[in-house]
Assembly symmetry: C2
């Protein structure tokens, strides 16, 4: 525990720690997409990960790092999305309780998934303040181990293993692109890429309707989203000081994309790669397509962060599945 | 060419012949589906195949079996779906022309895909008789090599390689289930399974709205669909005498499913396996779920035949993604 979790060796140890419990997800290619961009694009498919998203990596790492006596008290978090399922599964696997605060606005299907892992769900009001105050009340009662979705070195070190698996592919990677929400995934991605080589650019991709990271990056001062409006429901959160400081040091840039660009990229991925992804995962694809002239000739890793989506809420008819006409 | 293409060694040679030009597609698993059925279910994912469906196997085999002088005359077929793309790609790869008769009702996206492979598209009227008469006229003009979608031993031998790849997995397979349209895929599947072991049941799965195979199987006499009504657009065709005679000899049974069962199975696969499949591919999954008590404890291979679907035409809100409530 004295080890720096965010150092290259700390991330390597996180990788060994979680490897027995998470999938080494496949990397997919598409001739069509390579031809469109004029580049070699590797899609790292965390939609095929356990619980359907990369979040299980960080939650598993944080759980494993607890002492036996601490771990026995169980886990706790607040989340409406994939992190809730990740903590619930990590607890179930370890045989300990999980206390998950979910906003009253969470879709029934997401609550059912969390309940399916045997977690105890506590309903809160819809705002982030509601969630946090409910979480404090719960923690005062149960004394469980709080695992923040991204503002936690154990979590960041776990999420860093996604990029580490991309970098272990044959051949150098020029650029890694992924979605920015709270910044846990992209902080870890920066650290893994920085550890491997100074030559790999890391580009964060963000919806224009929740662009706190782009504004923070542009001004050098941490900004918040006062309101959010995007279909990329996993990316509505704000950076923390911790994730922002890592991104500020290592991220090359942030590209923002509109919901229309996200929808077009989503449909394109469904039709070309034949995989189901959530809107947040289409964000780096949309950024790649938006700026494709710049990326010609490069070897690019795209982090497909997850595949948990309410299909009945998607209106594919609004989006184009092709970019060639 | 003297070799019997439908014998075990003929199928093995077809496999060697096409292997350099088609993908060995992955086999996926789902803990949720295994738990639902109480069985081990292997999904053979031909949606990840070139052109997005198994049809490239048969078309590639037929093309490769032509003499050089015959092949130079080009390929021809009539199809509104995946076989059209398969013949177009096989021709493009070989550097020969393809003449594809497509009904006027074909979706623009399917025509664009065929045209994208450089094929010459000839429009016909909407009925199967229209297609066939237009095809005859085209063949009288161009003298190209007609490749039937399923009533052709070269095609059946190529499609047989799907099941052959399933059977090469570790461990015995008790049952292989796949969709029945014209019967080319399932004829080949029967022959591969029969060649490997007499212990593997092969079950054909068919939409109740295009149940010519089920009626043919029940009566022992080849029946046709007088009208068709199913979302499984790849399975609206009729068996031929050739495919029916193979199925009659080797198929264990046919299970029919309703469009509602197909839609529920489709959404279930999207949500659980995170893959995009076409409605026809959900038919064997629907059959498995319908009769799941019978399959408990078995090791089952499901042929996921393809992933070419107009997403804007799917109404996911009508279907359930879960079978546990």
């Amino acid at each position: 525990m004295a080890l720096d979790l965010l150092s290259p060796s700390g991330i390597a140890e996180s990788h060994e720690r979680i490897a027995p419990h998470v999938h080494k997800t496949p990397i997919l290619h598409s001739r069509t997409i390579d031809a469109l961009v004029g580049a070699t694009v590797l899609f790292k498919c965390e939609n095929f990960q356990r619980i359907g998203a990369f979040k299980i990596r960080g939650a598993t790492n944080a759980t494993a790092l607890l002492s036996d006596s601490a771990r026995a008290k169980g886990l706790a978090t607040h989340s409406s999305g994939n992190h809730a399922q990740a903590v619930a599964l990590a607890a179930q696997r370890t045989g300990i309780p999980a206390h998950i605060v979910m906003p009253s606005t969470s879709p029934a299907v997401k609550r059912a998934a969390v309940a399916g892992y045997g977690a105890h769900i506590i309903e809160s009001g819809p705002t982030i303040d509601d969630r946090e105050s409910t979480m404090e009340r719960v923690l005062a009662e149960v004394d469980a181990n709080f695992i923040h979705p991204y503002d936690d070195e154990r979590v960041i070190s776990g999420q860093a293993t996604v990029a580490r698996e991309i970098l272990r592919e044959d051949g150098a990677i020029d650029t890694v692109m992924g979605p920015v929400g709270g910044g846990g995934l992209m902080s870890g991605t920066c650290l893994s890429c920085h550890a491997a080589s100074s030559k790999t650019d890391v580009i964060g991709c963000e919806p224009s309707g929740a662009d706190d990271a782009a504004r923070s990056f542009a001004t050098g001062i941490l900004q918040r989203n006062e309101s959010v409006d995007t279909i990329a429901d996993g990316l509505r959160t704000n950076l923390s000081e911790r994730t922002f400081s890592i991104l500020k040091e290592h991220l090359s840039e942030i590209i923002t994309v509109t919901d229309e660009e996200i929808g077009n990229a989503l449909r394109f991925i469904y039709e070309r790669l034949k995989i189901v992804i959530e809107p947040s995962s289409a964000v780096p694809v949309a950024a790649l397509i938006q700026q494709r002239e710049r990326f010609a000739g490069r070897r690019i890793g795209i982090i497909v962060s997850g595949g948990n989506v309410d299909l009945s809420a998607l209106d594919f008819g609004r989006w184009r599945g092709a970019f060639t006409d």
